[in-house]
């Protein structure tokens, strides 16, 4: 929480309504550059909706979202990818019938700039860019620990590796902000430990991380700050220790009188 740097992501009084259902309301969140920020809350609290609003899959009913000082609410997802936001999904959404390498290369799409027609003529510029993209993709795969599986189909990877591949695809766009939607879901304790290390390594690359996570061990172990969402509203925010001892949080998770 450095005071000298402006926050990278700011949500101010964001509200999202689906018909009569208010999924997110009066949400204020500010994520600082370089921190690991987690969003937790019971099922149906509106966490994934918040992610969808930030990544452009949904448009907020009211309120604004700023990324790096720029208002981004209403921009389409591929523009946000260009600006430097990448994400993974709660239920893995890989391009399952494409190879591992191609998955990562698609993730790099927003960083490739040669016009489409150049692919037909195969100009030197296009070839150089492709070569560079492949090299960078391999490097990213190595970084997440998926080397030597380039030509496997994504769907043939074991579950934990699929989670890592999704992270690699997101990292391929060289994001400034990476949103991970329940990265630890369905992984075993060993993989969870590895995941914590991976997340810290990603931060060390200068990427700001914004997580949704249910696994308290993971959340408490790696987060700098945590916000708690319940029924679409933020009920607490602070360091892991502060949140853990907060009465409203305990109430939300365990019910009144707990």
């Amino acid at each position: 929480m450095s005071a000298d740097k402006p926050p990278i992501l700011v949500l101010s009084s964001v509200r999202k309504q689906f018909g009569g259902l208010v999924a997110v309301d009066k949400l204020d969140i500010s994520v600082d550059e370089g921190e690991i920020f987690s969003l937790i809350g019971p099922n149906g609290a509106g966490k994934t909706t918040a992610f969808n609003l930030i990544t452009g899959l949904d448009v907020p009913t009211s309120g604004t979202i700023r990324f790096g000082g720029r208002v981004i609410s209403g921009l389409p997802p591929h523009r946000l990818a260009q600006l430097g936001i990448a994400r993974t999904f709660q239920n893995i959404r890989l391009f399952s019938n494409m190879t591992v390498l191609d998955n990562v290369l698609v993730g790099r799409h927003s960083r490739l700039h040669t016009p489409y027609w150049m692919a037909v003529v195969r100009t030197p510029a296009e070839r150089a860019e492709e070569k560079d993209a492949v090299a960078k993709a391999r490097e990213t795969l190595k970084f997440v620990g998926l080397q030597r599986r380039d030509n496997d189909l994504a769907r043939n990877l074991p579950y934990g590796s699929q989670r890592r591949l999704e992270i690699a695809r997101a990292l391929a766009s060289e994001p400034r902000l990476l949103l991970l939607d329940e990265p630890a879901a369905g992984t075993n304790p060993q993989e969870k430990a590895g995941l914590g290390e991976l997340i810290r390594a990603i931060r060390a690359r200068g990427v700001t991380l914004f997580l949704i996570e249910h696994d308290m061990k993971v959340v408490m172990g790696i987060s700098d700050r945590i916000a708690v969402l319940d029924h679409g509203e933020k009920i607490a925010e602070g360091t892991p220790t502060e949140v853990r001892t907060n009465n409203r949080v305990i109430e939300a998770y365990l019910g009144k009188g707990a």
């Binding site: 990544t55 899959l57 389409p76 997802p77 591929h78 990818a81 260009q82 990448a86 994400r87 999904f89 239920n91 893995i92 959404r93 890989l94 391009f95 399952s96 019938n97 494409m98 191609d102 290369l105 698609v106 993730g107 790099r108 799409h109 927003s110 960083r111 490739l112 489409y116 692919a119 037909v120 195969r122 296009e126 492709e130 993209a133 189909l153 769907r155 043939n156 074991p158 579950y159 699929q162 695809r169 997101a170 391929a172 766009s173 369905g186």
Partner: protein, 423 residues
């Protein structure tokens, strides 16, 4: 009693000319075919598929040897000339379908957008060539703009194919974008229905656009369309000689379309292996994830429609030149279905597959002309058998093959890898 009579009798059953009884009988036949196919599939899937697999493997080796393939392509019509002209016209028609199948494969196979109105692009290309290379457009301008147009010379604009082919392609590509824009948010069945509608609209439009200004000449279509000509050499002249060798019109067209196919394959292969091809595949696999990965799905879908349309339009222009006349009836829904069958039978998303699918399905279709309407029945039965025995198509792209491996444990694809967990 010949084969046709036998089949007609089989199809009508013992019910003479009672239409409803015949209908019921045919439904029964259809059901029997279906359950027989299921039985075959359930009982002997591997044994029955074995010859197809061996053939498929053999062909795929050949298909990958481009020089052998090119040699066959170049030499084929010379053999056919010996058997008289008919086979040559058939081969030429199949060639046009090859071009269409490669184009539709971009939309359906690569990008995963089910398009049942592909014939519209073919029609747009044909009409663009037809209008500018026949007296039709000249007649219109003559009557309405008589004060602007010189009243001398032979009627018609007679613009060269070299100019009109790219124009026809671009017009069809533009048409693809126009169809694409309202259907951007549609997927699967809904998209199929809307594109089917657009295909029909195009045909009906051509049918009725003889009023208030006679542009398409209505159901009678355009006549006296120029053949392709280069300098003094007209492709349509039946008395062309190169040295001592007689060159019939369709031999010219055969080689023209062969060149077009080669160019198209080159163009499409390069697109497929670039970031464009990857983005198309990503849209096919998961559109939302593709968007999040930075793919501008709107532009890339429109690009797919436009590219598919471009090749369809070029094929249409050549078709119009070869036929000398076009009418709305040449652009029935059935053409779209036939091309789609070729793409699916060949293996969606695979360029060699599209080519082979067009050749096989086209050969079956054109060589059963004598069976009249029965050929649709035989055609349908063959498709059922094909889809039962080899659902991934003759030459599937590696991706599609794996996609279907889960459904049908095809021996050629090996066992599924252990430890696959789906979310």
């Amino acid at each position: 009693m010949n084969l046709v009579d036998t089949l007609v009798n089989l199809l009508h059953g013992p019910f003479g000319d009672q239409p409803f009884a015949i209908l019921a009988w045919q439904v029964l036949l259809g059901g029997a075919t279906y359950f027989t196919a299921r039985f075959v599939r359930g009982r002997f899937p591997r044994q029955a598929a074995a010859p197809l697999l061996v053939a498929g493997h053999g062909v795929s080796v050949t298909m990958r040897n481009r020089y052998v393939l090119l040699g066959i392509g170049l030499a084929l019509p010379l053999f056919e000339l010996l058997t008289g002209g008919y086979l040559l016209t058939v081969t030429y028609s199949i060639e046009l379908y090859v071009l269409l199948a490669i184009g539709l494969n971009i939309v359906v196979g690569f990008t995963g957008l089910l398009d049942l109105g592909y014939v519209a692009f073919f029609a747009v290309g044909a009409y663009v060539y037809g209008l500018f290379a026949s007296p039709q457009l000249y007649d219109i301008t003559h009557r309405t703009l008589y004060f602007l147009v010189p009243q001398t010379g032979t009627p018609g604009y007679h613009i060269s194919m070299l100019v009109l082919m790219p124009v026809a392609g671009c017009a069809a590509a533009l048409f693809g974008v126009l169809i694409g824009i309202p259907t951007l948010r549609l997927r699967g069945d809904y998209l199929a229905i809307v594109t089917l509608g657009f295909g029909e609209i195009t045909r009906i439009f051509a049918n009725n656009l003889d009023q208030p200004i006679n542009i398409t000449n209505g159901p009678n279509g355009l006549i006296n369309i120029d053949p392709v000509w280069i300098g003094n050499y007209s492709f349509g002249n039946p008395n062309n000689y190169i040295g001592p060798f007689h060159v019939p019109p369709f031999l010219n067209y055969y080689y023209l379309v062969l060149i077009l196919i080669l160019l198209t394959v080159f163009f499409v292969t390069r697109l497929e292996r670039s970031r464009v091809g990857r983005a198309w595949a990503a849209i096919r696999e998961d559109e939302t994830a593709a968007q999040m990965a930075g793919v501008n799905t709107r532009n890339l879908k429109l690009l797919a429609y436009a590219s598919g349309g471009f090749f369809g339009g070029m094929a249409g222009a050549v078709y119009a030149a070869g036929q000398h006349l076009i009418a709305p009836d040449s652009f029935q829904l059935f053409v779209s279905i036939l091309v789609l069958c070729m793409v699916v039978a060949g293996g969606m998303g695979s360029i060699p597959g599209s080519v082979l699918g067009a050749v096989v399905i086209g050969a079956i279709y054109f060589l059963t002309t004598q069976l009249l309407y029965l050929r649709i029945l035989i055609f349908g039965a063959l498709l059922v058998i094909l889809i039962t025995l080899r659902p991934q198509g003759f030459l599937p792209s590696t991706q599609r093959a794996h996609e279907l491996a889960e459904v049908d444990q095809d021996p050629s694809l090996g066992p599924p890898p252990p430890g696959v967990v789906t979310a």
